[in-house]
């Protein structure tokens, strides 16, 4: 099967959605599909060969943090070129309600669309105001996936419709390999680990830093390792000497370093205060065998489950956090229990499970009639070898598509479909003027339509 994935966020910067798409693409390629990913990226960024750049991304405030998105007429042209060249059976868009690449693709899409909603936002006023602009695209989505119940609720309240909840995936084995080493018991100090863009308040580092003096009072030799991009001087300036001595910033870490760091942790702390819709990092930490202490956000509770595979504390409560960390650091047996319970739980989120479910969704919206050869010709008792070759999704049988009389090619050749897309794109250009996102030269009629749309979206 030919699959087009669209990532709205820049591939230059690591982030949950980007990593999810990268892993998904690699899983699908491993299953024998043809996969192309469209994502914003700077010209000089080195990209995996299956990624096509849609141009540079611009930092924009969205969903409570700064997202790097790309949009505008030039990008819209690139999207069209990518779609034409890719000749996809299925498009899988991520975060289609974000004003970006996914939305542009949605406007231009002519093949079945699957969409994954990642974020859970508390404030949806803005989204609702843009509803008439979003609706035409949303109407094209055949299958909706939410990564968590929280994301599902966000979606149901803003765009409606039923949804499948399929969690994000993790290659659990990659993390497990390192986990066998575990922390070296002979080497104190007890190590607390924090991972993420620590300058963002919603990641919750301030909560952890407030808890740290209380922890140090009980466990004086504990150290906190903070990994991730951000301005460390700014954070350090606010710390007392005692705390500053116990905190070590190690900057951005690579995949392997991250695994080693997690495997060696006595406690992995996720003190996030909101804005998380799925705790992929919790799954990674559990796979690597780190005992997890997380704030009781819905998304985190869903990952940890009722199995006691991690410790939860009330969101933003630094006293409770300190108490949990101290309890954990002083109890090696509890650490060991959490390690194995976490790894057990993480299996639920392995790509082999998650990816197969996503693949099933693609199959159930794609129109190509595959199977062992065109219908009616192949003998049903073709050997398993032939059957397998026939069912290989990448081998799309043109004859089957034509015999069914509504193959993609037939539809695409039809004049009306083409015309509609042109119109869609024109209105998109006009509407981006209306939203004063980018200046676009457009005809008078388009401008009027744009104004009307803006007027109605109030």
């Amino acid at each position: 099967m030919r699959i087009g994935l669209v990532c709205p966020y820049s591939f230059d910067v690591p982030g949950g959605v980007q990593l999810h798409i990268r892993d998904l693409a690699e899983f699908l390629i491993g299953r024998g599909h043809h996969v192309s990913v469209l994502a914003p990226a700077d010209e000089d960024t080195e990209l995996p060969e299956y990624v096509v750049s849609a141009g540079r991304a611009v930092p924009i405030r969205f969903n409570g943090s700064v997202a790097r998105l790309s949009f505008g007429p030039i990008v819209a042209n690139r999207v069209q070129a990518w779609l034409d060249q890719g000749d996809f059976d299925v498009l899988h868009l991520h975060e289609p309600a974000a004003p970006s690449l996914s939305l542009l693709t949605l406007w231009a899409a002519e093949v079945p669309v699957v969409a994954t909603f990642h974020s859970s936002q508390a404030k949806l006023g803005a989204l609702r105001a843009a509803q008439p602009l979003l609706q035409p695209g949303l109407d094209k989505i055949s299958a909706r996936i939410a990564v968590s119940e929280a994301a599902h609720r966000t979606m149901a309240s803003s765009v409606g419709g039923t949804t499948l909840v399929i969690p994000n995936g993790v290659y659990v084995d990659r993390f497990c390999a390192a986990a066998d080493r575990g922390p070296d018991p002979a080497t104190p100090p007890p190590r607390i680990v924090f991972l993420g863009r620590f300058a963002e308040p919603r990641k919750g580092l301030p909560v952890l830093l407030a808890a740290l003096p209380l922890v140090l009072a009980q466990v004086p030799d504990a150290e906190l390792v903070v990994a991730g991009p951000g301005d460390r001087a700014e954070v350090k300036g606010t710390l007392s000497d005692q705390v500053a001595g116990a905190v070590r910033f190690i900057g951005t870490v690579g995949e392997e370093e991250k695994v080693a760091l997690l495997a060696g942790a006595n406690a992995y702390v996720a003190p996030n205060t909101g804005g998380e819709s799925f705790g992929i990092i919790l799954v990674e930490a559990m796979s690597a065998g780190a005992p997890v202490v997380a704030s009781s956000l819905d998304a985190f509770e869903a990952v940890i489950g009722t199995s006691g595979a991690g410790v939860l504390f009330p969101v933003g409560d630094h006293r409770a956090l300190a108490a949990e960390i101290v309890r954990l650091l002083e109890d090696p047996a509890e650490q060991q229990r959490l390690r194995s319970a976490g790894q057990e739980r993480a299996r639920q989120f392995d790509w082999s499970r998650v990816g197969a479910r996503i693949e099933a969704v693609y199959d159930s919206v794609a129109i190509t009639r595959g199977g062992p050869g065109p219908r009616g010709t192949g003998s049903p008792v073709a050997g398993p070898e032939g059957a397998r070759a026939g069912s290989r999704p990448s081998r799309k049988t043109e004859a089957a598509a034509q015999s069914s009389g509504r193959g993609r090619h037939g539809r695409r050749a039809g004049g009306s479909g083409r015309h509609r897309t042109e119109e869609d794109r024109a209105t998109w250009a006009a509407s981006s003027v209306a939203a004063s996102v980018v200046p676009v030269a457009s005809s008078g009629a388009e401008r009027v339509r744009g104004r009307l749309r803006r007027w109605f979206s109030r």
Binding site: L164, A366, T368, R369, P380, P384, S404
Partner: protein, 182 residues
Amino acid sequence: MNGTWRVGEIVVVIAVILAVLLALGWYLSYTAVRLDRLHHRVKGTAAALDAQLVRRAEAALEVAYLAGIDPASATLLATSAGRVLDHEEAWSQERLDAESELTEVLRATQEPEAAQSAEVEELIERLRGTGERVQLARRFHNESVHEARDVRGQRLVRFLHLAGRAKVPLPINFDDDWPNAG
């Protein structure tokens, strides 16, 4: 003086009427385009369901011939899968009945107990996969039908025949409860 007031009022009234008409026109064209799009999607989801049903029947045939299940079950399975494959594309009641029957037979068929070769395991696994995909595809289809009918049901849409000659999309209902979701 009185006269200029009148002219001003008339201009305002005309402007308001024009604005209302423009707004109405925009809304109607917006809704018509939206309906067209929804109908388009309904066609797509129906075709996808059709494709999955064919795959399920083909996989069932293969299992009947190759998986070494008992001959009575195999005959039943092959017969009902064959019946499904006899129906071309149209969503006739006979076809839906045939699909329900295949589901019933699949539910009743016992998996071979003895350990099987890897190839047979794969065949059975594939059949199970097609069953899940049929459930998903039918769900997605009925959802798109529901959305299209919602818009068609609006009073203005009905009154002005905005849906044109597009047929009223119908949900597709048959028994697809195999394997158990989950």
